[in-house]
C-alpha cells in the first residue's frame, strides 16, 4: 500500500491572495445585504457605495489626511522601535537597572492613553508632536517586552559554548544574545505597528493644526456624516495594515536568512 501526502486546497499558493480578497468581498456584500434587509438608516450604517461616494467627493482631502496620519504613525512607530530596542538592550545588560526600570515601563501599557493625551498636548505641543508622542507611548511596551524576552531567552547550550570559548559578556551579548532576540523582537515590532496607528488616531482626536484622519473622524461625527466617518476609519485601518505589512516584509527578509516558515 502506498501512502500519499494529501494536498488540500489550502496548500495552493494562489489561495494566499484569492481567499483574503474573496473574504473581503463577501464581508462587503454582507454589509450591503444587512443594510438592505433590515432597512437600516444611512445615519446608523451607510452602504458601502455611500462610503465610496463620500471618498469620491473629496479624494484629495482624504488622501492628504491619510498621508498625514501615516506620517505620524510611522514616526511614532520608528521612535518606539528605536527607543524600545535601546531600552530593552540597556535593561538586559544592566540587571540591577532592569529590576528598577522594567516595572516602570509597564506604565506605558497601563496608563489609559485617552486620559493622558491632553497632558501630552501640554508637554509636547499641539499637533504633530503630541500625536507622535501618543503613537510612541502606546506602541513602545510590546517592543520592550518582546525584545527583552528575546535577549534573555537564549539557548543554555549556546551560552555554555560561548563560555567555553572564552567569550566575555560583551561579546556574548553582541554575537549570541542580540541575534537570538531577532525573531521575538520582530514579533514586538509587528504588534507595535498596529498600536502606533491606534495611538495616532487617538492623539488626533484631541486635535491638530492639520487635517489628519482623526480630525476628519471627529468633525464628520459632529456633522453626522456617517459615511465620511466610515471612509476615514477604513483609511485609518489601511494605514495600520500598511505599517504592519511593511514590518512583516522586513521581518521575512531578515529571518529568511536562517529560519524557514516564519
Amino acid at each position: 500500500m502506498t501512502t500519499r501526502v494529501r494536498h488540500t486546497v489550502a496548500d495552493h499558493p494562489a489561495t494566499r491572495l484569492v481567499v483574503p480578497i474573496l473574504a473581503a468581498a463577501s464581508a462587503i456584500g454582507l454589509w450591503a445585504g444587512i443594510k438592505a434587509a433590515f432597512h437600516i438608516s444611512d445615519y446608523l450604517l451607510p452602504s458601502p457605495f455611500a462610503v465610496l461616494r463620500a471618498f469620491n467627493e473629496q479624494p484629495r482631502v482624504y488622501l492628504a489626511a491619510t498621508a498625514e496620519s501615516a506620517f505620524c504613525a510611522s514616526l511614532g512607530f520608528l521612535i518606539a522601535a528605536a527607543g524600545g530596542i535601546a531600552l530593552a538592550s540597556a535593561l538586559s545588560i544592566f540587571r540591577i537597572v532592569e529590576r528598577g526600570i522594567y516595572p516602570l515601563t509597564l506604565l506605558f501599557q497601563m496608563v489609559p492613553l485617552i486620559a493622558i493625551a491632553p497632558l501630552l498636548v501640554i508637554w509636547f505641543g499641539y499637533g504633530r508632536p503630541s500625536i507622535v508622542a501618543c503613537a510612541t507611548i502606546v506602541s513602545i511596551f510590546p517592543v520592550i517586552a518582546n525584545t527583552l524576552a528575546g535577549l534573555r531567552g537564549r539557548d543554555a547550550g549556546l551560552e555554555e559554548l560561548f563560555a567555553i570559548l572564552g567569550a566575555g559578556r560583551r561579546t556574548t551579548w553582541w554575537k549570541l544574545a542580540l541575534p537570538s532576540s531577532v525573531p521575538s523582537m520582530l514579533t514586538g515590532l509587528r504588534i507595535a505597528a498596529g498600536l502606533a496607528t491606534i495611538g495616532t488616531i487617538a492623539g488626533e482626536f484631541i486635535g491638530s493644526d492639520r487635517q489628519p484622519l482623526g480630525v476628519l473622524i471627529t468633525s464628520n461625527l459632529r456633522a453626522s456624516q456617517t459615511a465620511a466617518v466610515f471612509a476615514s476609519v477604513l483609511l485609518a485601518a489601511c494605514v495600520g495594515f500598511a505599517l504592519f505589512g511593511a514590518v512583516s516584509v522586513l521581518g521575512r527578509v531578515i529571518l529568511a536568512r536562517w529560519l524557514r516558515g516564519v
Binding site: 549556546l158 561579546t171 554575537k175 531577532v182 529560519l259
Partner: protein, 257 residues
C-alpha cells in the same frame, strides 16, 4: 633503535584524575574516581544513563568545579568540545559557525575562513560551507560541530555522546570519520557514550562506570588498544563488547542488590 627508546619512556598522562568526587546539592554524581588519560589515547566512558559519566567529562573540561579530589592537566592544554546537540548558531552559515572559536580568539578573517574550510574538509563537509544549519541533515550538523571542535587544533577532544541522536547508518559513518581523523592526528580523545559497540569500535580503552554515583568498575582494553591492532578480527571486537557488557550488567545488578 630510537623506536625502542620511545617505547620504554611512556609519555606522561595528558590528564590525571585522582580521587574525584562530585555532588549536585545532595545528589552524589561521582564517587572517588581515579583515571589517567595518556596523550594521544582514545578512551570511551560507558555507563548506564544518568550515572554521572557526563559529569566526569564536564569535570575534565572544567565546566563543573571540582568538588573533591584533584585534576591534573598539562598547562595550556587546548580543549575541543562536542556535545549531544550540535549547538550551531542558526543565523550563521556552516563556515562561519566553524570559525566561531577562532573569531572569539581574535583571529583575522582570512585566516578564520581558511582554517574553517580546512576543518570542514577534514570532516568531508566542504560542500556545505555556505549552507545554513537548517539546511543540513542531523549527521551533517554533527560533522559541523566536530569540525568546530577541531578547528583550533586542540590537544584534547571531549565528546559528550555526540552521535546519540543519529540514526544507525549515519552514526556508523560518523564513527568512521572520527576514527580516521583520530588515527591521522592523534589528539587525546575522551568519548562519553552508552553504546558499547561504538565504544569498542572507536576507543583503545573502555572505562565502565556503575549507576549513580559513578564509580569506576572496569577498564577494558579494546582490540584497537592492543599492540597488534592490525590483526584483530571481528571476534576480538565481539569479545570486547561482551566483556564490557558483562561488567556493566554486573555493576547494575550490584547496585540493585
Amino acid at each position: 633503535m630510537p623506536s625502542t627508546a620511545r617505547c620504554t619512556t611512556l609519555p606522561p598522562p595528558a590528564i590525571r584524575l585522582a580521587g574525584v568526587s562530585h555532588a549536585f546539592g545532595t545528589v552524589e554524581a561521582v564517587r572517588d574516581v581515579s583515571l589517567e588519560f595518556a596523550a594521544g589515547s582514545f578512551t570511551a566512558l560507558v555507563g548506564p544513563s544518568g550515572c554521572g559519566k557526563t559529569t566526569i567529562l564536564r569535570l575534565i573540561g572544567e565546566l563543573e568545579t571540582l568538588g573533591k579530589g584533584s585534576l591534573e592537566r598539562e598547562r595550556d592544554t587546548t580543549l575541543g568540545f562536542a556535545f549531544q546537540e550540535p549547538r550551531l548558531l542558526p543565523w550563521r552559515n556552516v563556515r562561519d559557525n566553524i570559525a566561531l572559536p577562532l573569531e572569539l580568539a581574535g583571529a583575522p578573517r582570512a585566516e578564520r575562513h581558511a582554517r574553517a574550510l580546512e576543518a570542514l574538509d577534514r570532516m568531508q563537509l566542504a560542500d556545505a560551507a555556505l549552507r545554513f544549519p537548517h539546511q543540513l541533515s542531523g549527521g551533517m550538523k554533527m560533522r559541523a560541530a566536530i569540525a568546530r571542535a577541531l578547528v583550533s587544533r586542540p590537544r584534547v577532544l571531549l565528546l559528550d555522546e555526540p552521535f546519540g541522536a543519529l540514526d544507525e547508518v549515519t552514526r556508523h559513518e560518523l564513527d568512521l570519520a572520527l576514527r580516521m581523523l583520530w588515527e591521522a592526528e592523534r589528539f587525546t580523545a575522551i568519548l562519553v557514550t552508552h553504546s558499547i559497540p561504538e565504544a569498542a569500535f572507536l576507543a583503545e580503552r573502555i572505562v565502565v562506570f556503575s549507576p549513580r554515583p559513578a564509580q569506576l568498575v572496569a577498564e577494558i582494553t579494546t582490540p584497537l588498544g592492543t599492540r597488534d591492532a592490525r590483526t584483530w578480527t571481528r571476534d576480538d571486537l565481539g569479545a570486547c563488547v561482551r566483556e564490557a557488557s558483562d561488567a556493566l550488567l554486573a555493576a547494575i545488578a550490584g547496585s540493585r542488590a
